[in-house]
């Protein structure tokens, strides 16, 4: 109940301001207009064809890029967590990937590849790999030296060491990395689509922005936030709680 209170107060304020102060529904849509747009989106109706097709394309790009970034970031992170040389070698490229604005990356990739699916996917991979890499390397560095010595003495190497030791050891870091990078991905996938693609939610947002219609833009914003929160609440949250409980039990 307490969690819902700020949301209710916020919607009340929003309604008051857009009904009595900023009375321009096209630019400052009241909640009921946004709700109507939400229902329109959910009924698969949009100006550039079925909305589900656009949402599906965006989601597919996000999931593809996020999965690739998660695998690459985790593998490189494990390596860097064990070998200082690899970490030092990777540190500058990682900071560059993280600090160069996503729009700049999209433009660079657009010049390289043209208007293709590879542009938002590779921009996302570049941007999402970096935080996963840093989180994983930090997790591996925190592994107990005693356990590393045990693995060495039992000749635990290669695949067994990765899947049977490193990954379970850093499980809580991995879930945190997945959480952060997924949320980050939702934020930047639209930017990439707005600039460089013929379909996706980004293109719909760009369309409504060009026609100065704010209600659908806010509706998409709410929808994407809801998707992000649902994934966090239903997948990452329970996973992290379970790992934390197991880890506390074994202390």
């Amino acid at each position: 109940m307490l969690n819902a209170a700020p949301v209710v107060v916020g919607i009340g304020l929003w309604w008051t301001i857009t009904t009595f102060v900023l009375v321009q529904p096209r630019l400052f849509p009241p909640p009921q207009d946004v709700l109507a747009e939400l229902l329109r989106i959910l009924s698969n109706d949009g100006p550039l064809g079925p909305t589900y097709a656009h949402a599906g394309a965006t989601l597919l790009r996000l999931l593809t890029a996020w999965s690739i970034a998660f695998v690459i970031g985790t593998l490189l992170g494990v390596l860097a967590g064990r070998r200082r040389l690899v970490f030092d070698f990777m540190a500058n490229p990682v900071w560059i990937a993280m600090s160069v604005p996503s729009v700049v990356w999209v433009f660079i990739l657009l010049v390289l590849f043209g208007i293709e699916n590879i542009v938002p996917v590779s921009a996302l991979v570049l941007l999402l790999t970096a935080p996963v890499f840093l989180g994983t390397a930090e997790g591996v560095r925190a592994i107990s030296k005693d356990l590393l010595e045990m693995c060495d003495s039992y000749h635990v190497r290669g695949w067994q060491r990765l899947t049977g030791f490193y990954l379970p050891s850093i499980a809580s870091y991995m879930v945190a990395n997945a959480r952060v990078s997924f949320a980050y991905g939702i934020r930047i996938v639209l930017i990439a689509e707005v600039i460089g693609l013929p379909n996706g939610v980004g293109i719909l947002v760009a369309y409504w922005s060009d026609t100065l219609f704010m209600a659908p833009i806010v509706a998409w914003g709410i929808l994407l936030t809801a998707v992000g929160m649902a994934v966090d609440l239903l997948v990452f949250g329970p996973l992290q709680r379970r790992i934390r409980q197991e880890s506390e039990l074994s202390r």
Partner: protein, 264 residues
């Protein structure tokens, strides 16, 4: 004597800024032979390099120089896979919390890779039963007591049926009653086999050394030298409070005071 392990002319030192020469010398021209099938106890004060010796034997630590680190007549440095004949029991159990006790044993089996896979299940059952954990092998480390965890770590080593078992103060963090029980389990396991494994056991507990050893090697504080080498020809099972064990213990205490310069 047939040496199972022979360390010849080892030099080992570490950087240490607090010393005038900037180095702490652990071993200088140090040599040691360990007899095949013996229960050799390395006894010495803290910091004398007992655990370091186990790491050198296992190949986990390379000395600065050494004429030989020889296992069964072959130098470990030219044949690193010789260390697959060895298994380690550490001071703490060092079990993986996300694996059951049996899976922890399997983790060691998979790593060392000396036992055929089809034997794993039988070996795990056999040795968990031997240490009294037959019914507990499917529990996770946090579900069992400290003593049970340490027994599981002994099984993780023993299932490999290693030729050399390296044990680094394995009972030092247990309470006295549990430690006594663990010593009984260990010696039962060791004496029950027809061809006895070579055990190299590190401790700073003189009573424990007197009760367990067939060979005692006493080390001085670093730079370590062997100040006493003694055989203990007492029958098994041994009781810690038996006159013979107490006599050995007294002798060791005396030798410690006289030769290692540590009084009681």
């Amino acid at each position: 004597m047939i040496p199972k392990v022979s360390l010849d002319n080892i030099d080992l030192s570490f950087p240490d800024a607090s010393r005038p020469d900037g180095r702490k010398v652990i071993y200088e021209d140090f040599s040691l032979q360990i007899e095949k099938g013996s229960f050799t106890v390395l006894l010495g004060p803290s910091g004398c390099g007992k655990s370091t010796l186990l790491n050198i034997i296992n190949g986990l630590l390379k000395p600065n120089t050494a004429r030989g680190i020889v296992i069964d007549g072959t130098d470990l440095r030219s044949e690193p896979d010789l260390s697959r004949q060895m298994a380690y029991v550490f001071q703490g159990p060092r079990l993986l919390r996300w694996k059951t006790l049996a899976e922890n044993a399997e983790f060691g089996l998979r790593g060392l890779g000396v036992q055929p896979r089809e034997k794993w299940r039988d070996l795990i059952d056999k040795y968990f039963r031997a240490v009294g954990l037959g019914d507990a092998q499917h529990l996770y480390p946090h579900q069992v007591s400290g003593g049970m965890r340490q027994r599981a770590s002994i099984v993780r080593a023993w299932v490999n049926e290693p030729q050399i078992l390296l044990m680094d103060e394995p009972f030092s963090h247990l309470d006295e009653i549990t430690a006594a029980e663990m010593r009984r389990i260990l010696t039962n396991l060791w004496t029950s086999e027809e061809e006895r494994r070579t055990i190299v056991f590190v401790t700073h507990d003189i009573s424990e050394a007197a009760q367990l050893a067939t060979d005692i090697i006493m080390l001085t504080p670093a730079p370590s030298k062997i100040c006493l080498r003694r055989k203990v020809d007492l029958p098994w099972p041994r009781r810690m409070d038996s006159d013979e064990v107490i006599a050995v213990e007294k002798e060791l205490r005396h030798a410690f005071a006289e030769r290692a310069g540590i009084g009681f």
